[in-house]
Amino acid sequence: MSDLPPEQVPDGVPITINGKELVAEKGELIIDAAERHGVYIPRFCYHPRMRPVGMCRMCICEVDTGRGPALLPTCMLECTPGMVVNTESPVTAKAQEGVLEFLLINHPLDCPVCDKGGECPLQDQTFAYGPGESRYIEEKRHKEKPIAISDLVLLDRERCILCDRCTRFAKEVAGDPLIHFMHRGNNTEVNVFPDEPFASYFSGNTAQICPVGALTTTTYRFRARPWDLEVTESTCQTCGVGCRLAIDSSRDQVLRYEGVDIDPVNWGWLCDKGRFNFQAIQSEDRLRNPLLKGPNGFEVITWGQAMRRAADMLSEALSSTGPDGIGIVGGARLTNESAYAWAKLAKGVLGTDNVDARLGDELPHELVLGVPKATIDEVCRPGGTILYFGPDPKEELPVLYLRLRHAVIQDSATLIEVSPVRTGLTPLARHFLQHRPGEVHEAVRALIHGIPQGRDGGGVDPAQLGLARAAVEQAAASGSLTVVVGRQSIAESSDWVTDAVATLVRAFPEVKFLTLLRRGNVHGALDMGLAPGLLPGRVALDQARDWYGAAWPTVPAGPGLDTAGILQAAADGKINTLVLLGADPLTDFPDRQLAAQALQKVPQIIAVDLFLNQSVQAADLVLAAAGFSEVEGTATNLEGRVSVLNQKVTPPGTARSDWIIAAELARRLDSDLGLESADDIWGEIEQLAPSHHGVTLDALFAPEAADGIVISTGEPAPGRPPTVRFEPGSPLDPPAPDAYSLRLVANRKLYDLGTFTQASPALANLAPGTKLRVNPYDFERLGVPEGRVLKVKSVRGAISVEVVTDPDVLRGTAAIHVNQPGALVTDLIDARLRVTDIRIEVGEVA
């Protein structure tokens, strides 16, 4: 034993592995320290993102802790000074052989037909460390071949080596312990409770981390062999979290996504929606060619015809109504490069500022781009205090939910949640402040300044408020407070959230915000100027007019309209041509009636999309776009982190990248975007967009940038226009109460009628449907039995929906999930109103 005096061991722990002296970190496990120094110790149960359990014994090595060498599991032992580890000694080798022989006793000889074969730790490690042959000649254990433990995951119990990875993941990481070890000893198996499937939003991860072929996904089973797969890294674009993933493809087909472990974002996990919607890319329903609506419906046309037609439509709009007669809605699906190209086409060539990548359910861009920004890591840091008011992250930003869950449960973060309804996060919250819908600003004001005279802080519980106030005050003073902000409900305007943020910015100018955006690349689209009054690089139109005037053919005369404004103008007959840039306002915009009026009234609609969704069906001209994994470029997640997307497969038919469509349109309009490739566009972004200055292609592709680069909202480079800042407006009053109505909270479930989910057969049937939930007290007043379909009315419209009681819903509130089969909830919402009040009546809508 080396007896290094303590003064020579500042932070490190000196240990010896295979005769080499090295320094481990304090608290580091032997298995990790060895790996960091290039010595791989075989393992099955150990997973760096979960707590070690010492289940499989594969990692045993000869370790001398000072008491003589002994065989110890290196995944369970922290390095201590002077420890001597031998991973290659004959004793270690014999022990590892023995463990493998034991594990193989009941393991079927399935390798030739097993999906894991070729990427199987059991196969690989048996080859590397195994005994070579088995002495076991008895009959092996037999179990029914795969049983479905959920709609997405199959379990072959014969193959299971009982490593506890899946069950640990379910309990420790996902918090859904719906799979468990059952029975004992030789009969132990993983299983679910009868008729209670492993319906976790994160179930696919278990198939990824299972070290054998016991867990497989329904979508990948028997589809490929690992050695035929080509692997490319990219970033999930299904929601704003932006999980890093690997696209595994073969013969130009995407076959699966696997999570890639990047430290700042997803830690290797994916949610099932992101994991399984690769199916949509290959969907038969993808648009393959441009379509023109004729008297007999859509007809396929050539790109030449389509482009000419689109250019004609836009020129006609320009000459008849001027640039303001053109509106462009959507863009969150696009890469940053495509978003820039479209921004340049819209604002720099057509001269319209009626451009919005959001669909009325995201945060205002002044807020997203203008507040001091926190990263996910900053929000989730150990011991921090998180003030959260936003959508249910478990439903809308699932892997962010995992990170928050870890922060609270494992890293002692304190969560304070302010919400009108309980969410997936609520069980984790130290303080839960439930307020009336549309009064988050009142609740937050009360949280910071106490309840003002004559108000009630949005109806929050005063006792909880007092405790939460103390926690916030203390955290703000010690600098450990971060705020996570997003839209809680699409049935109310974003003004309330903005006002709540204003209160916080005024009170704590130093505090940082994580701004939640639900769609894939909304942040990138905003960064690239796809919002009214904005130009690429987080600059306001008015302040960057000269800067862009010098580089672009033109710049819009003044700020234009957002999506609600564009749709209203279209409904009022003031828009001549509407471009749907990957947008389905009929499904996604909170006010469906307005969207429907707009689509009906507007003379010309051009849609650029992957699918013929409801809104696209109303278009006159449809341009088939290439989608995720078919285009290269970059995307920006809700932190403002830019990461590289890669192209792996060819788009169907003649579908094209969005930026190529924009460039070609500009050419047909006698202009030139001057953009030749995605790289080329990034070059121009780096040059022109003030916030992105200095983030060169080389920087993006550098090995240090593997996790992406967060674009910070610092001071702009000299000579460039200043970036947008959030200016707190004057405080809002609470919305006027209406004693005869219930105030609606409308939010989303993970699986809904969204185009991508519905185009993925594995997910299409998982949308749970919707019911209106009201407090039992409010329900009693209706005087009807529970569970009936009733008529729900607002000033905007009426729907029929089942009404049930839920004591967790506040009195005076009604809660519902949108975009579910059976009820068009957005028929109730009026985009011009700041809250949605409803009444329930007995009877059904005729």
Partner: protein
């Protein structure tokens, strides 16, 4: 096929209140369920999951680990005959064979009238009295074939009802702990300090901090 009865829910709540965390009451509650139905039904397990705040899979995981919890119906009398070393040497195997003939079933099965379930078991810690058997975990020592026949007759005739309650009843006197001596759990709405799971999942760094 049943959840816990209203009375048993009362008992369950009392049992839960004895522990600092509801989940700790899992095994006593499984006994309660087995006492109610003679075996542990799926419905009861789902009900217990609700009562202690975990998933039914976790309840089944625990329940199926233990041999004494039966997941399928068993007879009113569960007869366990030991064939481990001492009993084997003293005629345990022959006793089992005799029992199979007498009851007309193989070990592991239940008589058609639903009265007897016969099981072959490992040592039941009555080696000095071999061969031994248990009926609903009540011991019978140095059992001869005649003893066995008499035992069956007595059980059939209900002559042992006082000594041997139906399968599932562990003790007929219910344990009760005065309320002032219970660990007690504050109802969640009163918990304003650190939530329970924080302690459950204490991070290594925190644990060390506490030790230092």
């Amino acid at each position: 096929m049943s959840r816990l009865s209203t009375e048993n829910v009362e008992v369950a709540r009392e049992i839960i209140a004895r522990y600092p965390r509801p989940k700790s009451a899992l095994i006593p509650l499984l006994h309660l369920a087995q006492e109610q139905d003679g075996y542990v039904t799926s419905e009861a397990m789902a009900h217990i999951a609700e009562l202690v705040g975990c998933t039914p899979a976790e309840v089944l995981g625990t329940c199926s680990f233990y041999e004494m919890f039966k997941l399928h119906p068993v007879g009113r009398y569960l007869v366990n005959i030991c064939t481990n070393i001492s009993c084997m040497l003293c005629g345990g195997e022959e006793l089992l064979e005799h029992a199979e003939k007498r009851l007309g079933i193989k070990a592991g099965n239940t008589t058609e009238d639903g009265l007897f379930t016969l099981e072959e078991v490992e040592c039941i810690a009555a080696c000095t009295e071999a061969p031994s058997l248990q009926v609903n975990y009540r011991y019978f020592h140095k059992v001869t074939h005649d003893d066995f026949d008499r035992l069956v007759d007595d059980l059939r005739a209900g002559r042992l009802d006082d000594e041997i309650p139906p399968h599932g009843t562990l003790a007929r006197v219910r344990q009760s702990i005065p309320s002032d001596r219970r660990a007690g759990i504050a109802p969640p709405e009163q918990v304003t300090s650190e939530p329970v799971w924080l302690r459950n999942f204490e991070s290594p760094s925190r644990a060390q901090g506490a030790a230092e």
